[in-house]
Subunit: 258 residues, 6 copies
């Protein structure tokens, strides 16, 4: 028997067997987006996928294929759509993808689902996709699906952040392509990280509003790294991953009574 925590590596009878046994499914939401000159475009796919695979092992879950094209990058949280290689969907498109996948999972018997977001801007359209999917399932007579929706980076201990940022945590939005993501990539895919290319043109100094078009003095570092990536290490990535896995697993066990 081919066993796997990857839903898509199972045959359909194996999938049916595990779902019938109550396995929770983790659905990672990623995107293809610039992450500075030192990181590849797939950071937001690699990281939530890696987190989900580790959590799945803890909770007896399955990881569905990661959605690789997400919602549009905004200048203040991801640099924006103008950076080469950022490939995004309209909000409605992204929400419909989430809706359809959730509807399909529900029809195939999945009753415990964790939607794990790995790209800041996906947050709201994933909420909408989830709401639309559950609405459709209710109309199809499926009313007992339980869903958690989260950003993996919110599962970190205060002490870990303090250790990582002795001078204070700059906040999630600015962490784009910075210390947290770079350290996690060094842990998971070090061959794709070029620490010698880490830029020093940050951190960003954004105003408290968006501008269209983005003015020249908007405070956006030309590198696309919004805070600081210097000092990243696989060890730090390990601290983060340990937190993400432990805290997410605990939350899932609590909510799903596992």
């Amino acid at each position: 028997m081919v066993d796997s925590i990857r839903l898509d590596e199972l045959s359909w009878p194996e999938f049916a067997h595990k779902i019938a046994a109550g396995a929770p499914v983790l659905l990672p939401l990623g995107t293809t987006e610039q992450h500075g000159p030192h990181l590849p475009l797939n950071v937001d796919v690699v990281l939530p996928t890696g987190v989900c695979e580790r959590v799945a092992r803890q909770v007896g879950g399955l990881v569905a294929p990661t959605i690789p094209y997400g919602y549009k990058s905004m200048p203040r949280s991801g640099g924006g759509e103008a950076f080469p290689g950022t490939l995004s969907l309209d909000a409605n498109t992204f929400s419909l993808v989430v809706r359809d996948v959730i509807r399909g999972l529900g029809h195939h018997g999945v009753r415990r689902l964790i939607v794990v977001n790995g790209h800041f801007e996906n947050a709201w359209p994933s909420v909408e996709g989830l709401d639309l999917g559950l609405r459709e399932l209710r109309r199809d007579g499926i009313t007992d699906m339980q869903v958690m929706r989260l950003e993996y980076w919110d599962f970190v201990r205060r002490a870990t952040l303090d250790k990582l940022f002795p001078d204070g945590f700059p906040g999630t939005e600015l962490e784009h392509a910075s210390l947290l993501e770079t350290s996690l990539m060094l842990l998971l895919r070090p061959e794709l990280v070029e620490m010698d290319k880490v830029p020093s043109d940050g951190p960003a100094t954004f105003p408290t509003y968006d501008c269209f078009p983005v003015p020249a003095d908007f405070g956006l570092p030309p590198s696309g790294v919004l805070a600081v990536a210097h000092g990243s290490s696989a060890e730090k990535g390990g601290w983060l991953m340990d937190d993400h896995v432990a805290l997410m697993s605990a939350a899932i066990r609590k909510e799903f009574g596992l």
Copy 2:
């Protein structure tokens, strides 16, 4: 420098550099769908991705992230949506995904694109997504993008098919989870294939029409294998892959003047 034929493994400056140099981009279209008791759900992701990576090396191209959720499976070509683990999008959703990704590629300077379909039912909604994407690009002033769209399995020599099917080729639609796909999976991901589970309830004996709902005597093998998978081998997969890569590369070189 991290070099890769995978678009998403590049940093944004590397991506920009390669696109500016004229690199063609291959976009694989897959899905998550039952492929019998001996194959995993990810066959239609693994195969077009594997083909694209090999073709990209031949033509100096880049492979964009594979779309992992495709259009709905139909009983006569994929077994249908009722098989556990088949996760599909509505046609409009799928077309919008293709539209948005193509629009994004166009805005980032891609002018040579090959859309490589790996799931039978994706064919028409991918045509529509492509048409919508190019329509939007024209309205955005981008009129010089060249696109090829193809099913990878159509790139095979008559002689190869004759060698594989001495008694005659049953046709593309019925080949679902059968000799061709099983052999290619044995070539690319043998650890996910369980030859001892290859069923013998085929081939399908469909009528010349669709039925909703599917009647009991519709001729659909309960295993979901529409033709015959016995006799599959990695060697046969190699014959196919050689054809796919050689013929697709030649076609791309011809159309794009490479």
Copy 3:
């Protein structure tokens, strides 16, 4: 009493009476599309309508109004949208039309429906429209509608094809505006056929892929006739029509237990 096999020629009480008695409804899907210099733009309306009317008489059915604008013509199966007079809908539009009509039929009590496609490219968006329509009907509490969906040209005996194509049948896609369609038009609407204008620039020599834009050497005959129309006759049209009517009627009787 005005009696008719045309649904739209009945008054509403007559319609209600026949549906309550279990009459199956045939819904022809056509389009307005180039069919070479010798055939009118309405071939894909005339032919499925004509077939449906004859089948309706055999099975006690009703023919709903033919949808006259279908999905976009593709170069490899219909010549493409660039030919003058080809008037098509976006895929989503076409699917919504099919969805809405099916929803309406279901709400008015129709429980046996046959969707009869007469335009190659309508196939997949009609599947989607049907799926969407049945999904909505289920949500409205209507779960017992039976639907068949077919292309009329698939209902032909092997012997008939052998008689029509002594040198081998070129396949459905290439038959656009060629021997089959021309012969059927000579049977049904001979006054609209100009045999003296049958072109000789075919058959098409397409590659195994689509190209956008269509290159000059794509193998598309300038006339829009993809194979060969010489030798067409009303007699041959009669052979085809006999097959279509006999085989479709038999299939309908079988599936609907008539």
Copy 4:
């Protein structure tokens, strides 16, 4: 040469020739809707099509295929969707159909278009479809298309109405399946009219508002005939048709400078 005022009876070269010569195109908008026990469901297809064909002969125009499924019937103007056989589209679906057909006509060179509505409720969604179609054409660089949009029944002389309704014209909305439509059907398709079934349960006595659901005392005649059909005749239909053709032709000549 097959000549015809029906656009869809021309071959594509003939279509191209006539459009290049400036022929205006008339697009009739119909529906499939109850019209009382004495009239068929196709009244709103037959009448605008008949008017358009006669006008086309006057102005050198072409008649495009009539859209056979229109917007939903409302109780106060058509009896409502509950009457058997009324088959309608959602407003958005109908508008998208109109949009797509107009976009197609524009891309094929049509610069003079008359959208001729034959179903009361189509009026507003046809305006929207037209607005969307012209908006898209402008974005495609086509800015010189001239369009007229009209209800054919508005083209009647005061004197004719006075002759038809010596006691006063009840107004367009209530004329559903009544004197005007019945007389025109007696002119165009008398074999589909059953004068012996003309009901006497009208006229409707509607309040000045819509109700959902329709209450029992809403004033809707059970027959679906909203005013009075007694006294209809082919002669009266002729008076109306003469007005429609003369006044519409004059208006088209004026607006398009023919």
Copy 5:
């Protein structure tokens, strides 16, 4: 306790209390549209809101927030979109807004709803929004919502119109920014009316059809006042308001059994 006939001025417990007690809700539909040089852009918001507030007091109802952006202005009934300050939604957008608000009201227990239109062109897309909203509610198991839909100006006594228009009522469509609307604004918001700017370039002399683009001789007064506003007065506004409130209240009491 803050009491109010404005739904949005209540706290959620007060709202819940009143709805549980069976309060009908009035939903005014307005827009932002040119109303000549003497009236503000908000006429179609002020008037239905004012009417609804008065009716609500009569019937124990609540007034929901007025939708301030409506469907597109047409030249023959509102002057058209080209007039500065006319801010409109696509028909589908407007219908979706109406759908969503009605769905929300239904989910919160509202079972008696009156949709009160104050902008001519909103009529049909509001019907569609209502139909879509009720369809969704039915699928959510809510089948007992009663809805009335009306244009407030239809609630006027014949005698009042005769008093206001001794020479005959020109009809609703042409009354845009004319005597009725100006008089009602003088009653409700006199500080926003500039009677010295009432133009004399009307009434409009439209043909019986729409034209795109609008030709120079279309009969549209440059001021945007389609009929005549001279002679307007708050007193006349009072006559109208008295009728609107009395007749609407009576109709609501009748239909909802209050």
Copy 6:
């Protein structure tokens, strides 16, 4: 002349005059949502409207009608859709409204726009609506529109927050119906605030994830007040308003060069 900072209180010639002179337009985005037992449902309409009117006076701007139905309330930032009286739109609907209004403003010559959000959950769908609107305007040839998009509550001095929250600011999300909003309502609409009903069941103790459905122990105060509203005062509202107006006005002047 009727002068006003409210766009909708101007006549169309006045609107045209001010826009031609370069007036910036402020578009407030609100919603109808529970705000605890002591505040009305219209808080998110009253507050951004009040801020915009004051800012408009500072910068010579105009305030467009506030959108009164916004995106769905989420439990962790607004209590959620289950609270009575919360009336929301689907994300796509809301984005289309924003798109259409922005497109209309652009077509009427507005080149300086500030989208002012007053409801937390509106943030992302307003970004999407803005992106869609500007995309359409570019396709219509309008490329010089400048837009700012902001949440008004982000325009506050650190010192003010320190003065308001001596024990530390709990963060924007939890401030729903709490000290900030209550104080601003006491400033703007004190008659709608019932301080004696301020609840003490907060603050919320949410986990770091969403749950569907919301579990009983989710930490959501039954009152819907997410933090603490005790201690609110009009004076504190004045401090906030002063900051909002001063900082927003300064930002607008900077970005638009006023």
